[in-house]
Symmetry: C2
Subunit: 146 residues, 2 copies
């Protein structure tokens, strides 16, 4: 998959739903449900990448609790060691990172700011399209050679 | 994608993590985290399919709450109108159901019992493998014709 992250973002846009470390879980949940998404990216006031908060992080936080307070700050339950990619990286690298790390969202952080987010859906769509293009090329070659 | 659901389950196995309607959210969360999965299937004592409970259902249930009790029963927060497939259906149908319905897990219910579960990952893996096979065939054809 030779497509770069930059090319994918040019197609899908740069929108990323973000929260800050100091936001509450309740505020993060509101954003997840309003946007019908599975994760929000956590940044600070200067736009630096601080972490990611996914549905899975929230469910993990609930494990073993009788009552779950949603007033807790995002920073205390987010995944801090967030894996991200840069604009020049390609989809093969994204796919490898996602499957080995078992996560579905990959923030794009480059040139000092958050540039967008790549989801496993974006990668899959591109992978299928690339193969279909290749199949079309091969079929065209065969059809026009005989 | 001509592969049937039956063929996929023969490869990946029939394991499905289940809960009952009367189980608590706390019990369901324990199963999700222990098995590192995103959804559990809800069945009754006779094995009939009652619903599905995903990470997304749990986050939705939390929205707008200050304190979330995990003693609530699964039946009150699960998705009741669960879409499922039968063994003879193929992956194209699964993929279509998942993308239009925007869900990642498809229980397989047939012959009166839960036969397994198909994840979006299974479908994607099969779709990529099928195309790679097709590309290989075309390349073989070209190489051996000239």
């Amino acid at each position: 998959m030779g497509n770069t992250v930059r090319a994918i973002l040019e197609q899908k846009g740069n929108q990323v739903v973000t929260v800050t470390c100091e936001d509450t879980l309740a505020q993060a949940i509101l954003k997840l449900t309003q946007h019908k998404i599975g994760a929000v990216v956590v940044i600070d006031e200067e736009g630096a990448l601080k972490g990611i908060l996914s549905e899975r992080d929230i469910v993990k936080y609930m494990a073993g609790k009788m009552e779950v307070p949603t007033s807790v700050q995002v920073c205390s339950i987010m995944t801090k060691s967030v894996t991200y990619v840069k604009l020049h990286q390609n989809l093969d690298e994204c796919f490898h990172l996602m499957t080995t790390g078992r996560f579905r969202h990959l923030p794009v952080f480059d040139e000092g700011k958050l540039q967008g987010i790549i989801s496993i859906g974006d990668v899959v769509k591109a992978a299928l399209a690339e193969r279909d293009f290749q199949i079309g090329q091969l079929e065209y070659y065969i059809t026009n050679t005989f």
